[in-house]
Amino acid sequence: MDKQHLIEELITIITPYTEEKSALERVGENTDFIKDLKINSANLVDIILDIEEKFKIEIDNDSMAKMLTVKATIEVIESKLQANAG
């Protein structure tokens, strides 16, 4: 799965969690979930559960703590997908 495709999947997942629809249209690698999309921090765990389900991966607590931006999240997803493939 290429990076652009991953970002698109991620946007689909986070859409219900944000009211910032215009910021959502400009999502890029550097987008911060809390600062830019004003996502309630309590909902970050729900987003991670949705990611786990979508990509059929399991995300450990250390990785979870890093997943505050699109870039970091994509990196975690990619590494878990690779681990699965390997």
């Binding site: 219900p16 765990v45 729900d46």
Partner: protein, 426 residues
């Protein structure tokens, strides 16, 4: 200390026989039952397989909750409470606060017995299945007792006291008195009072096991809840929510609000589980004291009370309640007020009962009617020996009256009594 007069300016309801004020008003005037056979209770082997639950379509819920909230919402009590609470707020002519600044003058005291019992079950099963990490963020806010007041407050932007009271079947009436005190003392201008109760086998099961619910009417649900009847054989469980906007008279007049009624006063106490009082039985000394002190705090004579909305659950305790009212009011058989029980139509809505029944009481005062008691055509002779049977109307009475007393009694030997008065421009 301020001593503000307190009035009711908004009503909301989510009851087994009506989930809007017009539908509910129509139902209680016409004695329409909300009790139905519940296949799930039958499947689970309950003794009592009938119950009352509010009914509304899924589209209705979309008006109160965001799609995100709805994704994991599994708390009937929160759903009912939010519907009743937001409807009461709108009925009072108040807007949802969309400012960044909280509405410091408005708060809520919205009670419940349990919260999100189905959500709790789901979470417990996940944990036991070694799936703790799958719980997500929605378990705490739906299973904390104050979940209902927290949801309501967030939607309205309330900045005054936001809390949940819990006093078993007295919860709803207590919430009104707590809100009343807060406004009376000048600490808030407006308080959304009310209470809610979850639906379903996990909330009703404990009562079924205690054998306090009837098992004799599974084939005739609408006849099952029989307050004051000779054939009363236990209560029928119910659920739902009722909500009332309480407001200082000054605030209501300033904004030219519709005023349904005035809260004159009330009293809350406990029998201490002493004397005849136990965890589950009321101490009559405390019940009578509660009613007397409610009247005293309202500055009226006991013979000014024209209508009593009883607790009257359809158990063997109904006759004792009548005796308590009679003694507390110092009334004779003939001059006892009219008395009715909504539980004949909707069953016993546990922690929601007091607020739902107070909404019914306010509608009676405001519109000038006394709703009929249903299912007591075979009046308990123990009751008719104490008060004239014409005091227990079985047909709708159109009658303008001024003062109504409402009481609720709960497990733990606790009592709450509130006195409402028709408001007449001054």
């Amino acid at each position: 200390m301020d001593n503000n007069r307190v009035v009711i300016t908004g009503l909301g309801i989510c009851a087994p026989n009506g989930t809007t004020i017009p539908d509910f008003t129509d139902a209680i005037k016409n004695g329409i039952s909300g009790i139905k056979h519940q296949p799930e209770l039958e499947r689970l082997g309950f003794s009592c397989q009938i119950a009352g639950m509010p009914e509304f379509d899924e589209e209705r819920i979309l008006r109160y909750f965001t799609p995100l909230e709805l994704r994991n919402l599994n708390s009937t009590g929160i759903t009912y409470g939010v519907i009743a609470g937001l409807d009461a707020w709108a009925d009072a002519g108040l807007e949802r606060n969309t400012d960044d600044e909280p509405d410091w003058d408005s708060g809520t005291i919205f009670g419940t017995g349990t919260s999100g019992i189905d959500k709790f079950r789901w979470a417990i099963n996940k944990i036991d299945d070694m799936d703790i990490r799958k719980l997500g963020s929605s378990v705490v806010v739906q299973t904390m007792a104050s979940g209902v007041s927290a949801f309501i407050s967030g939607k309205l932007g309330l900045g005054n006291q936001v809390t949940t009271n819990s006093s078993a079947c007295a919860t709803g009436t207590e919430s009104i008195l707590l809100a009343f005190e807060r406004i009376k003392s000048g600490q808030a201008k407006r308080m959304l009072a009310g209470s809610t109760s979850d639906s379903g086998p996990y909330i009703w099961g404990g009562f079924d096991a205690m054998k306090v619910c009837t098992f004799k009417h599974n084939n005739e649900p609408e006849k099952g809840s029989r307050p004051m009847s000779l054939t009363a054989s236990g209560f029928v469980p119910g659920s739902g929510a009722g909500a009332l906007v309480l407001e200082s008279l000054e605030s209501a007049l300033n904004r030219n609000a519709k005023i349904y009624a005035e809260v004159l006063g009330g009293h809350i106490n406990s029998g201490g589980q002493r004397g005849l009082g136990t965890m589950t039985a009321p101490n009559p000394v405390a019940v009578q004291r509660c009613i007397k002190l409610a009247i005293e705090s309202s500055g009226i004579r006991s013979d000014a009370i024209e209508v009593v909305n009883g607790h009257l659950t359809a158990t063997s305790k109904d006759a004792l309640e009548i005796e308590n009212w009679k003694n507390a009011l110092g009334a004779s058989s003939g001059n006892f007020p009219y008395i009715n029980s909504l539980k004949g139509m909707i069953g016993h809505c546990i922690s929601a009962s007091g607020s739902i029944e107070c909404v019914a009481s306010i509608l009676e005062l405001y519109e000038g009617f006394i709703f009929p008691n249903i299912n007591c055509e075979d009046l308990n002779p123990e009751i008719s020996s104490m008060i004239d049977k014409n005091r227990i109307p079985q047909k709708l009475i159109h009658n303008q009256f001024d003062i109504l007393a409402k009481a609720s009694f709960g497990f733990g030997d606790i009592n709450a009594c509130v006195i409402f008065k028709k408001y007449k421009n001054g």
